[in-house]
């Protein structure tokens, strides 16, 4: 029996202006289908108990989160062990809806950036307005992290979580570590500057 591991073995970097840590194993299910179709909304509701989140946001309930990726894609975040069950539940609930659910838990790497300068670190890497009034908890943004695609959101006011493709985990970890080097505070986005 193979034992699933994260891309970087739970690596962490501290000592910089923000803490960088690889997240625990995370269950992920990609759901493709026209999110505006009532049948798809119904299937999502019956499996997760949540309505389809609006563009650029995510919703969570009972340890399951629904993230809006595009008008025809949702990312379901859940416990690693329950991803397969969610896929089967979607298969059963899809009915006549044109819907595809796939377990992609091992396709991506996930990192957490935390600390009062977390916004500084992320703003160095993403072409996104991360000012406190412009980006906050509840939002979900797919964007670019230096040269690779990523999706970012804020679990709390001073921390970010991001996902990237697993093959790019080392690159993303290096990026984050360098962007969080000691003494590299920008102080533009935090009031403590």
């Amino acid at each position: 029996m193979s034992e699933p591991v994260t891309a970087m073995g739970g690596v962490a970097a501290s000592g910089g202006i923000a803490g960088i840590r690889e997240a625990e194993r995370q269950g992920m299910v990609t759901l493709r289908g026209d999110l505006s179709a009532p049948a798809v909304g119904k299937a999502v509701k019956s499996v997760t108990g949540m309505a389809v989140p609006g563009a650029g946001t995510f919703a969570q309930k009972d340890g399951v989160a629904l993230c809006w990726m595009s008008p025809d894609e949702l990312l379901v975040l859940c416990d690693y062990g329950s991803a397969e069950g969610i896929v089967q539940a979607f298969d059963a609930a899809s009915g006549k809806a044109h819907l595809l659910a796939v377990n992609v838990s091992d396709a991506r790497a996930s990192f957490q950036v935390s600390g009062e300068h977390a916004r500084d670190v992320m703003a160095k890497l993403c072409p996104v307005d991360l000012a406190p009034g412009a980006f906050g908890t509840g939002m979900f943004r797919r964007t670019r992290l230096a040269q690779v695609a990523a999706a970012i959101w804020m679990p709390s006011d001073d921390s970010f979580q991001l996902i990237c493709f697993r093959s790019q985990a080392q690159y993303v970890f290096d990026l984050l570590s360098i962007a969080a080097q000691p003494g590299s505070e920008v102080n533009h986005l935090c009031s403590t500057g």
Partner: protein, 109 residues
């Protein structure tokens, strides 16, 4: 640098989050059409100084294609509109006319 708003997901971002897809509203003629039309489809492009219409893809975001109208000299973006459009929408053309009176792009003005 261009600041574009994706009409699909509503995100406003600078151009490095997008990918340019060349000129907008190219028409591909069907089987039996003359070589000249195929040549036009393949090679003939506008190269305007001023108002231009292009296809863009929100490659690091929602991944969808859309259209954008912009000025090639000032990099002002007049607006973006869905990919499922065969010609520049009337409202947008009016907006451009206010800012660039007398503009012409292919058969549109």
């Amino acid at each position: 640098m261009l600041i574009l708003t994706c009409p699909v997901c509503g995100v406003t971002a600078e151009e490095t989050e997008f990918h340019a897809g060349g000129e907008a509203h190219l028409k591909r003629y069907g089987p039996g059409s003359p070589d000249e039309q195929f040549e036009e489809y393949l090679f003939m492009r506008e190269n305007p100084r001023g108002v231009h219409f292009e296809r863009w893809r929100h490659v690091y975001g929602c991944g969808k294609w859309f259209h954008a109208a912009r000025c090639t000299t000032t990099l002002e973006v007049f607006g973006t509109y869905p990919a499922q459009t065969l010609e520049p929408p009337a409202g947008l053309r009016k907006t451009i006319s206010k800012k660039r009176p007398g503009w012409i792009w292919r058969e549109f003005s």
